[in-house]
């Protein structure tokens, strides 16, 4: 990866620089440099140690110690993550096993009604069997109190390889008067990737979903993945007496070269896209911008980017007693966003406040998890609104992911509740209810804008509504949770079937978009298997 990356300029002058533009660039450079340094650190560690163990090898514990049903964490699993992935007890750093873990996710997706067109170039409108995802992990201690979870993924749907959920952290313990303190800091690549409860978006339900369906999906709040992989998060956290958890920090945009190097799709800056387009239009007689590979994994496009620093906080209390573990918490995220990375129209300001709760009963052979989360987002869509009003210099619609908004202020509420039962850590069944509710907005979600056919990414709702509701049922089998086959006892696998039933989509049930699409047509049957080794 180092090859594609522009070498960091320098660390000097990051603090106290007078020139704001330079200061900002250097701050970004410093951030990039930290990540690069961390990557190099890992790479070197890998080269030296032929034996960096996966978590199970490192701790000497089976998967079931830290997971009820992979990847959902137990209280022990949460302590392991908060301890910076550094806990040992199993094989040492130099014991001679391959340092990496790998994961394959073959899947099959069937929807009740076929999609209007194939979701990707070489798939079908229905019944797609694909190797949805291939991932490689580095997971465990790096040195001392420093550890990491790093995932690189090839995503079949978008046909690109990118840096998936990644969390590098340092953690230590201390006595603070009579209080026990477990504290640390993490650098990671998306909001809530660092969180230890499975109620927050990055590691929440559903743990795996089809990337090829459904054709219509409800919009999400900003914290629910819009910025995943595109930002660098730096937060500090503390756990008091194993019960009270507090965390604060925030997110920065990654620089365009770093995003591209890490494989983020549509990683370009909008201004750059226009410059290239303009150049191509001037120089190419066909007026047809070619999609050179160096434009980024998906050619010439840009996606939402952060304007400045986006603060994040998280609090939770987690009492544990006997076989019970309860958590009640809240979190907040305040991104300012250039939609489609378009500058010059102002910024969209979001306030995402989440409330979450979880109860786990963990015994042998029974384990039950109840989860709840509700995220309320206030949107102030200055830029989106303005972009809808202006015709830009090139006479084309802005390359933002939507064609402007009718309102400047909108609200979006995302709720999810899940109940799961696991038998002997090997057979799991769960049901999940989800709902998205929001302010109607003719331009964001409407079926037609100013009487014109809907833009590509519009929500297509006759009632101009983002509202959606549904249920997800899932059953899975994890043969190796209590220890894998003798030859490779750390292996983990999960075979599952998932059915998502949509009760409402885009504010309606039947013919929600005027094109005779019904909510239930999206009902998705999804077969998957995870094989990690």
């Amino acid at each position: 990866m180092g090859k594609q990356m522009r070498p960091p300029e320098s660390f000097a002058g990051v603090v106290g620089s007078r020139d704001e533009a330079v200061g900002r660039r250097q701050a970004m450079t410093a951030l990039s440099a930290v990540l690069i340094a961390a990557c190099l650190f890992v790479t070197i560690a890998l080269d030296r140690a032929k034996a960096l163990p996966s978590f199970a090898r490192q701790t000497g514990q089976p998967c079931a110690t830290c997971h009820t049903a992979f990847p959902e964490l137990t209280p022990f699993g949460r302590r392991f993550k908060l301890s910076g992935y550094t806990i040992g007890g199993g094989e040492g750093l130099w014991d001679g096993k391959p340092p990496l873990a790998a994961m394959l996710v073959p899947t099959f997706t069937h929807t009740r009604k076929g999609q209007d067109s194939p979701p990707t170039t070489d798939t079908h409108t229905n019944d797609n069997a694909v190797m949805q995802q291939v991932s490689v992990f580095y997971g465990g201690k790096i040195y001392g109190n420093l550890g990491a979870f790093i995932q690189g993924t090839y995503d079949r749907a978008s046909e690109h390889t990118f840096l998936d959920n990644t969390d590098i952290r340092y953690a230590d313990t201390a006595k603070f008067g009579k209080l026990d303190l477990l504290f640390g800091a993490t650098v990671h690549n998306g909001p809530t990737v660092q969180d230890v409860w499975n109620t927050t978006p990055a590691w929440g339900s559903p743990y795996v979903a089809s990337t090829l369906a459904p054709q219509f999906a409800p919009p999400g709040t900003q914290i629910e993945g819009n910025l995943a992989g595109k930002v660098i998060g730096t937060t500090a956290y503390a756990l008091f007496n194993d019960v009270v958890y507090v965390e604060a920090g925030g997110y920065h945009n990654m620089s365009m070269p770093l995003k591209r190097a890490l494989g983020v799709p549509c990683a370009n800056n909008d201004a750059w896209v226009y410059a290239v387009l303009q150049n191509d239009i001037n120089n190419n007689p066909l007026n047809n911008p070619p999609y050179y590979p160096w434009y980024g994994p998906q050619g010439l496009c840009s996606s939402d980017s952060l304007a400045g620093f986006a603060p994040y906080w998280r609090v939770a209390i987690e009492p544990n007693w006997g076989n019970h573990s309860l958590m009640v918490g809240a979190f907040g995220f305040y991104p300012r966003i250039y939609p489609g990375a378009v500058q010059g129209f102002g910024v969209d300001r979001y306030t995402d406040i989440g409330f979450d709760a979880q109860y786990q009963y963990i015994d042998d052979p029974h384990a039950v998890t109840l989860k709840f989360s509700r995220i309320v987002e206030h949107q102030q869509l200055n830029s989106t609104f303005n972009q809808g009003q202006f015709v830009n210099t090139w006479g084309m619609p802005a390359l933002s992911s939507n064609g402007g908004s009718q309102n400047i202020s909108n609200r979006l509420v995302s709720l999810r509740a899940t109940a799961q039962y696991v038998w002997n850590r090997t057979i799991a069944a769960s049901v999940s209810y989800f709902s998205v509710r929001g302010t109607p907005d003719a331009q964001l979600y409407g079926a037609s804008v100013n009487g014109n056919p809907p833009p590509l990414y519009n929500g297509n709702s006759l009632s101009n509504s983002p509202n959606a509701r549904g249920l997800t049922f899932e059953a899975s089998y994890m043969p190796f949770s209590n220890g894998g086959p003798p030859a490779w006892p750390w292996a983990n696998a999960k075979i599952g079937v998932q059915y998502t039933h949509y009760l409402q989509m885009n504010g309606g049930q039947d013919n929600f978009d005027g094109n005779f699409h019904n909510a239930r047509d999206n009902d998705t049957l999804f077969l998957y298997s995870w094989i990690a080794f």
């Binding site: 900002r24 110690t65 500090a236 400045g308 006997g322 573990s325 042998d364």
Partner: protein
């Protein structure tokens, strides 16, 4: 614009702090791998979930239990699941070091039993139940449940853990823990409840390790 610059500074500050921590990591290498145990047993080893309190437990008893996990003699399901793996690579010197360390921490009473049963529990603990052939626990575990030598401290252990331990000897597990399989044989379910409740409230009395 002003705002943006301040935000950038905050970011740089965080990065700088992290770099310092990372640099610190190079020097921090625990001599005794205490955290390999406390992520389950609780930050100060006061017990966490179903992992029992280790703080204040007797040195010789901890050492013996670690040996019986390693020998798979302590074979009840939770021991098998969690402790067999945790001690598989523990060398005797480290085991001893950890035993000394944990026994030196001041224990706190879990106090999670049913307080209504405490008086009954104390009566059984102090006097036994002659008709049922129940031995007086006090004879071996001491007047305040403090234990002695390799006989464990019971005072303040959690109700859930004590109850499970007393039940499991009758289910045929860990028969090497003499004399407890025999002692537990004559205990009724109600007596187990009462004993576990009473002991969970017993406060720490320092009699050395």
């Amino acid at each position: 614009m002003q705002r943006a610059r301040r935000d950038q500074r905050t970011g740089s500050g965080l990065v700088a702090a992290l770099l310092l921590l990372i640099a610190g990591a190079a020097s921090a290498q625990d001599a005794l791998p205490v955290r390999n145990c406390t992520w389950c047993h609780g930050s100060s080893a006061q017990g966490f979930m179903f992992a029992p309190r280790l703080a204040g437990q007797r040195t010789a008893y901890i050492e013996r239990e670690l040996a019986s996990f390693a020998a798979h003699a302590r074979d009840n399901p939770l021991s098998q699941k969690y402790m067999w793996g945790a001690v598989a690579r523990l060398d005797p010197a480290t085991a001893q070091g950890l035993a000394v360390y944990f026994s030196s921490l001041a224990p706190e009473a879990a106090a999670d039993g049913q307080s209504g049963l405490a008086a009954t529990g104390k009566a059984i603990y102090d006097n036994g139940v002659a008709v049922d052939n129940v031995a007086a626990c006090i004879a071996c575990h001491g007047p305040n449940g403090e234990g002695v030598r390799d006989i464990p401290r019971l005072g303040g252990l959690s109700y859930v853990y004590l109850k499970r331990r007393l039940e499991q000897w009758n289910q045929g597990y860990h028969q090497s823990a003499k004399p407890m399989p025999l002692v537990a044989k004559s205990l009724s379910a109600n007596e187990v409840e009462a004993l576990a409740s009473y002991l969970s409230f017993v406060q720490f009395v320092d009699v050395g390790r």
